[in-house]
Symmetry: C2
Subunit: 236 residues, 2 copies
């Protein structure tokens, strides 16, 4: 495969906070050195422990970041367009801590990590954007850790549903963005437990039909879930 990102993909990538301030010349250099590929679902893009040769940018589709130990596996996060993933490993030139696999047919750009580090050294605006991005990622993981340590699985699910709802256009209905088994893993529980947790939330006005979730009484659910901006607000 020859490097070089199609010009049509430039604007989407350029819009990312990470790249919005980088000099044109440097941005173009990064894009010219990038590889863009289309992957079918369920392809393992990255295996944890391997050296981080590329910064990945997901242009379309969805990617699951997961990790395994001793025969167990857990979903750590989901990457959706348009965003980057495994920036920290690229910058540090350290092994990946998570594996990544496509959930759907996905279009992914791969920027050689050494290019990223080179432009990082040459372009101060880019370096600053990286700082902001990393700080945001860091805070996001801290929030997830608080969610895991301070809440029961029922509370995690309730707050997750409220977060999803507020992301959407408003209405009281929305679709789960991925399979329940993956949601269960992301929330740190078994699929069986997730089923029961949904039932447990019926008492607070939550109904599920397949992937369709209806929250009939938001206030009631919030009284139970007690959402907190220091855990649930992605921007704070």
């Amino acid at each position: 495969m020859r490097p070089g990102m199609p010009d049509s993909d430039y604007p989407d990538v350029r819009r990312l906070a990470l790249f919005s301030d980088v000099a044109n010349e440097h941005f173009n250099a990064l894009m010219r050195g990038a590889y863009v590929q289309n992957f079918p679902p369920q392809i393992e893009l990255i295996t944890e422990g391997e050296p981080s040769n590329f910064l990945h940018i997901i242009l379309s589709g969805a990617v699951d970041l997961f990790s395994a130990w001793n025969g167990r596996e857990t979903s750590m996060a989901t990457a959706r367009p348009v965003s980057t993933f495994i920036l920290a490993a690229s910058i540090r030139d350290a092994p990946y801590l998570m594996s990544a696999r496509t959930l759907e047919k996905s279009r992914i750009a791969l920027i050689p990590s050494q290019d990223v580090r080179a432009i990082f050294d040459a372009d101060n605006a880019f370096a600053r954007s990286i700082v902001t991005e990393l700080a945001t990622c860091y805070r996001s993981v801290v929030k997830t850790q608080k969610d895991l340590k301070l809440r029961t699985s029922l509370e995690r699910l309730a707050n997750y549903l409220l977060r999803q709802q507020s992301r959407g256009s408003s209405g009281s209905e929305f679709d789960l963005e991925f399979e329940k088994r993956r949601l269960a893993s992301y929330l740190g529980m078994t699929p069986e437990n997730l089923s029961r947790a949904f039932k447990g939330l019926q008492a607070y006005g939550v109904a599920v039909q397949g992937s369709r979730v209806t929250i009939s009484n938001q206030q009631d659910l919030e009284r139970f879930a007690k959402p907190n901006r220091l855990i649930d607000d992605p921007h704070s």
Copy 2:
């Protein structure tokens, strides 16, 4: 209190990876604007949710970073000399996600966040050091999250003990670095459960007397704990 760090503290701070590359002039400016204070034990230095006015550097003592929600509280990490904490909040100018309290009598330097951001803008070497530091912090939290999601409490304790041992000078004995109740909270369990977990590890050659831990059969313990560099190695 008047700003200005005593010259005698400069070398310790200068040695931090975060400050080792910053220009002399900028480093001195940061130090001149810093406040250094001695705090007694159990003082709350930071409350989560508040704006991040200072980057903190612990010069001596120990600081617990913890978080609370809905009447529950959990220990997230312990800061030990010489290191910084809550860098991400300072850089992003965002509210603290964690609270901090002294565990012992501690000497803390406070650098106004706006000074940090100013030097960050002016000094590219400093900006790069910040990137490395944040990437390291990020990876550290990811490892903790894997530990929490992939392991039982018994396994977490076993691996924690092995990590502590490898930090020490080698021998098969060492002291726990803080109270067991805090260790329990850090590991995501109750104090009662920690007691039972220690008993459970007796079968693998672990003995505890007060804060003194003896590992009589390291191989046996490792066979049970299955330490993994992508979770347990702080440098990888």
